[in-house]
Symmetry: C2
Subunit: 371 residues, 2 copies
DNA sequence: GGAGATATGAGATCCCGTCATCAGGGCGGG
DNA sequence: CCCGCCCTGATGACGGGATCTCATATCTCC
């Protein structure tokens, strides 16, 4: 850990002016002084007018003459005066900060969501305060405490796998901080939610496989205590039933990782009457499946079709390219943020919580046959 | 607006009335008004002591009797009083916020870095304000403006590809906001940096290829105006030279994406005297290369070895598994944050900027031959 | 009884920007 | 000449805490 890093002092060849700046900084620090930030008083003093005048000029108050306004605006520009956001927050009781908690950022889907959050927040002039629960309940509670303490205006959260109590979320709502769930929600809490249509996504994927002529379709299922695992399986079953195909329990196999897929697939394909298609609960599992069947000499998609879920980066670099169900993480983040900001602005304070379902999209690449 | 501040009477001394206030808060909420947060004054009034006493009790001031301290602590617990971080920031001129700017979060390496940042920041009691430049200079400037406005205590930044001017970074330093670069740095700015040892990583990768018997090694190079692209190429060249191999310029090809690799590789492998190994500037390019050579009937690693850079998720799901150079993104984020926090706390204010180099690690999987 | 310690209250100050109020200067029109 | 208008200054409150000073009240001990 430590050994992989080393400290190297930088060569000290800098222009002359740099010394001067550095020196004055050191001197101020040496005397324990804070570096002075430009305040409205500095602007007023510099221009020889009162603080009120500057304040009014910047607010475009009708009392102030156009000439003075222009003078003030010019000087403000020149002196790079920025109103102190902290003082503003103290007075307005708003921080323009959105707290975001994700289980794990190292996850293509969540990083897409955050990207969407960033986009929408920036567009609306909000800053994003970021937290990671690492799938831990305790950590999540700490994160919420930090959010409360920093007086964020609202919270976006996807709950951790380890979270089974929800008092910390309730505390947010009691403090009148709006909360919007994304992806991983919680039944017990009445608030806005933006979720993925796992059922329909799975249904469409399997329905497509059937349309391309597949008849023995296996499903590698995720953990059934999570909504996402459960709903994807239900979608799979529903598509079979709608098309009059028998649901064969021996073709529904718990399997949700690359490594597991290698193992499971070897066994599955070696037994009599192997499937002609496999629908996996996520992309990594699909890639494992793909590699396993290829290693056994099967042709994809001629001998067997494979379709994943969660359009991650991996699906765009496999051979053949993986067909999958895209989750529009960016859209989810953006949507959730927009809803949150509306709540913050009380635009729909009296309305009931809404649940927005972001549709999945079937992305047909080359691991499935064509219709 | 004003009316809501007048709805809550200011002077009450009897506990009974406190509950009335609480009730009126709920009613205020119903009418869409701001909810009342517990302040030190509420605690003082409830306990029938002065604000000073509560403040001193919480700070464990020796003037206050143990009994009073206990009473205060109990009530604070019961009323869930939290000191207003905004008021604290206003006075202390510290926000306990670290601003973080990454080019793109949807990138395994950067999400690992952010994970490390989150870890270190949380451990030190700092909050992370997150920004994404989307590789755009303009966006980066806006992000820095937001950071300055929100009075963050320090900044961690990996500069965008599109950034060629650095006045915005200088502005941070002039405002006495410490800056630590990670991964993508900038020569012109004298400040702390935590960077990847791209040169050595590339050198080791190519040196390993040579040790396994490869003699005609191609390099798919990244943009040369970026340090990371340049240094990886230098490492490649240096390894060839050290091993007495001729550097063939026709084997150094600009190529840094999956799609480009498909195209480039088809041409490269079709011409006479194709290479027996390819070192790519990143993993996605390596995967494109891998798929292209496999499609042309070459065996990996028997006919040709392939090695990438940046240990992303893709390298763990290819067939064969991709050998690559791992970057320790988590370590980089953690280290950068620790250095930044030291600077914020003036622990090394007079010391020169340091450049910390985090070593890469060669991860040998199955796309390269064994020694 | 008075000095001194102890515990607390009351109030000011600071951080910074906003906003409201009141006071006034200067100038033009009636 | 004065009223009123336009513009501006001076001042203070406010938001919420920390912190400091000074004034009390109570109690103890000599």
């Amino acid at each position: 850990m430590q050994s992989c890093s080393q400290t190297i002092p930088q060569t000290f060849a800098v222009p002359f002016f740099f010394f001067i700046i550095t020196y004055s900084i050191i001197r101020d620090d040496y005397f324990g002084m804070k570096i002075h930030k430009i305040t409205i008083k500095d602007v007023a003093r510099e221009l020889g007018v009162s603080v009120s005048t500057v304040s009014r000029a910047l607010k475009d108050h009708p009392d102030i003459s156009p000439q003075t306004k222009q003078l003030v605006r010019d000087l403000v520009e020149k002196m790079k005066y920025k109103p102190n956001a902290i003082a503003l927050s103290l007075r307005s009781q708003r921080t323009n900060i959105i707290g975001v908690i994700v289980p794990e950022i190292v996850h293509h889907f969540f990083s897409m969501v955050i990207s969407g959050i960033d986009e929408a927040a920036m567009a609306a002039g909000y800053n994003v305060m970021f937290f990671q629960s690492n799938e831990s309940y305790e950590r999540e509670v700490m994160n919420i405490q930090s959010i409360i303490n920093s007086r964020a205006d609202g919270v976006l959260i996807s709950i951790a796998k380890g979270t089974k109590k929800f008092n910390h979320i309730r505390q947010l709502l009691e403090d009148n901080i709006p909360v919007v769930f994304f992806d991983r929600e919680c039944d017990e809490i009445e608030t806005d939610k933006v979720i993925v249509d796992d059922f329909e996504g799975a249904f469409n994927a399997v329905d497509y496989l059937i349309k391309t002529g597949c008849r023995r379709i296996a499903h590698y299922a995720g953990p059934q205590h999570l909504q996402i695992g459960y709903l994807r399986k239900r979608g799979y079953i529903s598509a079979l039933e709608k098309n009059g195909l028998r649901v064969d329990d021996s073709l529904i196999i718990p399997c949700d990782s690359y490594e597991a897929a290698l193992e499971v697939t070897r066994n599955l394909m070696a037994r009599g009457n192997p499937p002609d298609a496999i629908f996996t609960t996520n992309d990594n599992t699909a890639v494992g499946t793909l590699n396993a069947v290829k290693a056994m000499g099967f042709k994809v998609p001629e001998d067997i079709s494979i379709i994943g879920f969660t359009d991650g980066l991996v699906s765009t670099v496999t051979d053949p390219l993986l067909s999958t169900v895209s989750q529009h993480g960016f859209e989810i983040g953006k949507k959730a943020t927009e809803i949150l900001i509306k709540r913050i602005n009380d635009e729909c304070v009296s309305s009931k919580p809404i649940t927005e379902i972001v549709k999945t999209e079937l992305v047909i690449r080359n691991s499935t046959r064509r219709i």
